[in-house]
Structures are given as C-alpha cells and as structure tokens.
C-alpha cells in the first residue's frame, strides 16, 4: 500500500503548484474574459462574448503582425542556427563543448539589458552605423532602429540558442557512419545531406522551431525597445490593457485568442511535419 502511494506523494507538491498557479489561472483568465464592466463599477460575470469580437476586430492587425514577426525570427534562427549547429556537431572536434558554451554565454546577461544594448549599438550615429557612415559604406540618412527589421533581428538574436541547442543535440547523437554509408552508396554530399542528415535532424528543427516561434510571437520587449510606430506587437497590447488601462475582460480575451492561435499553429505544424513522431526526439 505504501509503495503504491509513493509516486503520488512525490508528485503532489509539484503537481499542486502547477495546478494552482498554471491551470487554474488559465481558467480564471477565460472566466475574466467573459465579464463586463469597468474598473470603477467592477467586473461581473455576464458571459459576454462581445469581448472576443472587440478584441479580434480591434487588434487583428497586431496579432497578424506578431505571428509574421515570430515566423520571420524563427526562419532567421533556422537559417543561422542550423549551419552553426551542423558545423559544431560535425566539425567542432574536441572544442565542441567550448563552442556550445560560447553560444550560451551572452545569456548570462539579462534579456532586457541585452536588448537595450542593441538599441544603443544600432543608434543612427552610434558605434556601428556612425562608423559605417563615416567611411562611406552607408548613406548618411540610413537607419535601422525603430523599424520592423530591427525588431525581427532582435527577436532572432534573443532566441537563437533555443534553435541551435535542439538541432545540435540531434546531430550530435546521430551515428556518423550513416553518412559514410550514404557516401559508399555513391550519394553526393548534397544528396547525403538532403536524404540522410536532414530527415534525421528534423525533430531537432521542430523542437527548436517551437521554442523559438512561441516566445518570439508573444514577446513585446524587442518591439518596445527596437521598434517604431507600426511595430507594436500583441504582447504589448495585452500588457497595456492589463496594467495601464485596467480593461481586464478585453485583455484576457486578447490573451486567450493569442493562446488559441498559437495552439492551432503548433498542431498544424506538427501534423505537417509528421505529427507525433516529431514530438519525440529520440534520446538514443
């Protein structure tokens, strides 16, 4: 009897914490999104679906933009992270762990501080652009800060390791003799990569994509620091509605819509890439 109880006792504190402060709050948020009222009179439960209509009609532009920025940042991360992970895994030699460490090092600096450092680095007459302008490589009126590319690049910068690590983990565990076998069968380098390495590494790309796309889509720090007019992301709207306007029902409704859109995105992505098998990156 005691032995049977053990797992439940072990799991209980962690499980209860997650239930109380993760699952219940999500339910609470849904409940809040259906209330109506204002900050002075209070908010009462009226199952007011109109909040969702208002949230979607007012903020669809920011929502779509966030998805596009998140997608852009994820694609950049794949484009940059895959070759780097590939090179470290296959050609890093005995310095593999050092390279991996170097990829991780910038993350010992606070996320907010890193992003703000970019802002100063990218200033119109700052260290980078100023120098390039002085030596004539850039036109004098060139600017990056407060534009969409600045935001997307900032997002890619901040979440790159989330892409590199999973891809690296898969490539690293791969049996390199498989590639050799492909060569023995007269596959060209490109064919060997496309037919052998890439399919094996896809689960890593999937995991990386997930861990990049979700946080970048919902981020607002990069858009606030590096963006300009017309670059507002949905996270920013959520924060403003909750913390500045205290319009909780609309805020909760937008958050829920964001979550639903991301969930749908994840599942269709998983299906497109071969569903469940992708979910389990094989450990062995």
């Amino acid at each position: 009897m005691r032995r049977k109880l053990t797992p439940y006792l072990l799991a209980l504190p962690g499980w209860a914490w997650l239930a109380l402060f993760f699952v219940v709050p999500l339910a609470g948020m849904i409940s809040l999104s259906l209330t109506s009222g204002n900050v002075i009179t209070g908010f009462t439960q009226t199952f007011n679906v109109g909040n969702y209509v208002e949230a979607i009609t007012t903020y669809s532009e920011q929502l779509v933009r966030s998805l596009l920025y998140g997608l852009g940042a994820t694609l950049i991360c794949v484009a940059i992270g895959y070759p780097a992970a590939y090179w470290i895994a296959f050609h890093g030699g005995k310095h593999k762990s050092t390279y991996l460490l170097l990829i991780l090092l910038p993350f010992f600096v606070s996320f907010v501080l890193r992003t703000i450092s970019w802002k100063f680095t990218l200033s119109d007459n700052g260290v980078v652009l100023g120098t390039l302008k002085t030596i004539g490589l850039l036109p004098a009126d060139f600017s990056v800060l407060n534009t969409a590319p600045a935001v997307v690049l900032g997002l890619a910068y901040n979440f790159l390791p989330f892409m590199v690590l999973p891809i690296y983990a898969v490539l690293e565990r791969m049996d390199h003799r498989v590639v050799e076998a492909a060569h023995d069968l007269y596959a060209s380098k490109l064919q060997a990569f496309l037919r052998v390495v890439l399919p094996i590494s896809l689960p890593g790309v999937f995991a990386g994509g997930l861990m990049t796309f979700i946080p970048t889509t919902a981020d607002y720090v990069n858009a606030s620091v590096l963006g300009g007019p017309g670059n507002t992301m949905i996270g920013s709207i959520i924060k403003t509605q909750y913390l500045v306007n205290n319009d909780y029902p609309i805020a909760a409704a937008i958050t829920f819509v964001l979550m639903a859109v991301l969930l749908i995105g994840i599942f269709s992505y998983a299906r497109a890439l071969g569903t469940e098998r992708v979910m389990e990156v094989q450990a062995k």
Partner: protein, 279 residues
C-alpha cells in the same frame, strides 16, 4: 549549465570522414565565428560602456575611460535594492522549484501512476506557453481571488514557470539510472530511505543541481511574467526597463558585467572539471 555541455563519449571521432588533403576555406568555421561575433556585439558594448566617464544622465556616447563606476557600483540605493530582490527571489525559486521539481521528476521517471500523462502534458504546456500568457493568467487569478501582487506573487510565479524545467531535467537522469545499483543496496540490507539517501540521491545530485541552477538563471532573467505580478516590487530587470526612460546609469552596465563575469567563470570551471573527469 552542467550536464548538458558534456560531450557524450560515444561520438566516434575515429570513424569521421577522412581529412581532406587539399586546404580549403572552412566556410563553416567562418560562419560560426560570424554568428558568435553577432551574439557578442551588444555584450561587448555593455562591458565597454561600464568604463565610460559620462557627465550627464545618458550613457550613450564614449566620453573617456574610468573605473569610478565600479567603486560606486552600489550608489543607487534603489538599484541595489532591486538587485537584492532579484537575487532573493532567484535563490528561493531555486530552492523551492529545485525541491518540488526534483520530487516530481523522480515520480515521473521512476514510477507509473495514474495521471502521469496529464502531468506530462501540463508540464509541456507550462514550458511552451508564452510568458505573456502565464503572466496575464496569474494576474487574472490574483485579481479574481483578491491576492495582492508583490514579492510573494513573484515567487509563486517564478516557481510555477521553472518547476517543469527542473522536473524534466531530473526525470531524464532518473530514466538513465541503473536500477541494479539500488537493488544491490537493498540486497545488502539497506532500507528504502537509506537506499535513497546513500545511493539514489548522490546519483541524482548533478541533475538536481543543474535543474536548480537553471531555475535560478530563468528566475533572475525574467522580465515579462514578473512585470505582470510585481505590484510595488521592482526587480533588477524591471528597474533597468524603467531606467531606459531617463538614461541607464553606468552602474547597470557594471552589474551586468559582474553577473556576466560570474557566469563565465562558473561555466569555464564546469568545462574544465568535466574535461578532467573524463580524461
């Protein structure tokens, strides 16, 4: 930070493609170093500007070298206070999430029980859920129940979003443990608790430490969730965010540089120790 960087020993260096006789430009290497340069650009900027001898409030243009900000690192009382809050929350998160996360990981890795699948799903969802959603949901709950935001609320939130990371790290280690060792201990007459204390725990310790440190790192870095539930409390990232409006004092660069230095040192020690252990 620890176990993940170990290069698995089975990577067979000797069966790799034979080295090419011709010398070619190693584009992969150049590319990787380019990526690293990109990653380090703003960090270099931050470190350099911790030595900037500025007059006014704006630490943006280079005005000469000075060490004075290191001497005055704790001159901004509220910045120091914010850093202390961040460290306190980080340590408490590490302890609480480290403990309950390890227990959860142990249960998931070692036992089969009803609700296991659901627990896995909830953990997966908690890791994948965007921070804005976590922060907003928690704030919604606090509003509905009437809990005041502040220090305790931040701690609840941080344990919530880090506990799954700890559990998963520990679970992965539990799965790879050799059950024969524990069996052997029991055969030698050790009770369940003694076996756990003397055999299981020491073997799990690296994973527990790794999970705890990860929880600490995630906690001190968090801005988005904290901003929703912080109330009157200002943590280090929140303080920096506020200061962007008026000019970030060089002390922020100093503290950023110091934290970075500590992290780098720890990481290097880790790599060196891991290398020595292997050879």
């Amino acid at each position: 930070m620890t176990s993940g960087l170990d290069t698995p020993t089975k990577a067979p260096a000797e069966v790799r493609a034979p080295t090419r006789p011709r010398r070619r430009v190693d584009w992969g290497k150049w590319f990787t170093w380019g990526v690293l340069a990109w990653l380090f650009a703003p960090i270099t900027f931050m470190i350099a500007f911790s030595f900037n001898d500025i007059q006014g409030r704006h630490n943006v243009t280079w005005e000469g070298f000075t060490l004075k900000w290191y001497g005055q690192a704790f001159d901004h009382a509220d910045l120091t206070q914010a850093l202390l809050y961040t460290l306190a929350i980080g340590v408490l998160t590490m302890l609480i999430a480290g403990t309950i996360g390890s227990l959860l990981g142990l249960a998931l890795g070692r036992h089969r029980f009803r609700g296991q699948g659901t627990t896995n799903l909830v953990m997966f969802a908690a890791i994948c859920a965007p921070e804005v959603v976590l922060g907003a949901a928690l704030l919604s709950l606090f509003l509905l129940v009437g809990i005041a935001t502040g220090f305790v609320a931040i701690l609840l939130a941080h344990v919530m979003f880090t506990v799954s990371f700890v559990a998963i790290t520990v679970r992965a280690r539990v799965i790879t443990l050799d059950p024969n060792l524990e069996e052997a201990a029991r055969d030698l007459g050790a009770g369940a608790w003694t076996t756990f204390r003397l055999v299981t725990l020491p073997m799990l310790l690296p994973a527990i430490m790794a999970g705890g440190l990860l929880a600490f790192a995630l906690s001190i870095d968090d801005y988005i969730i904290t901003s929703f539930v912080a109330g009157e409390v200002t943590t280090f990232p929140l303080w920096i965010w506020g200061a962007t409006r008026v000019g970030i004092p060089p002390q922020v660069n100093v503290m950023g540089t110091l934290i970075f230095g500590v992290g780098v040192t720890l990481a290097i020690i880790n790599v060196v120790v891991a290398k020595r252990r292997r050879s």
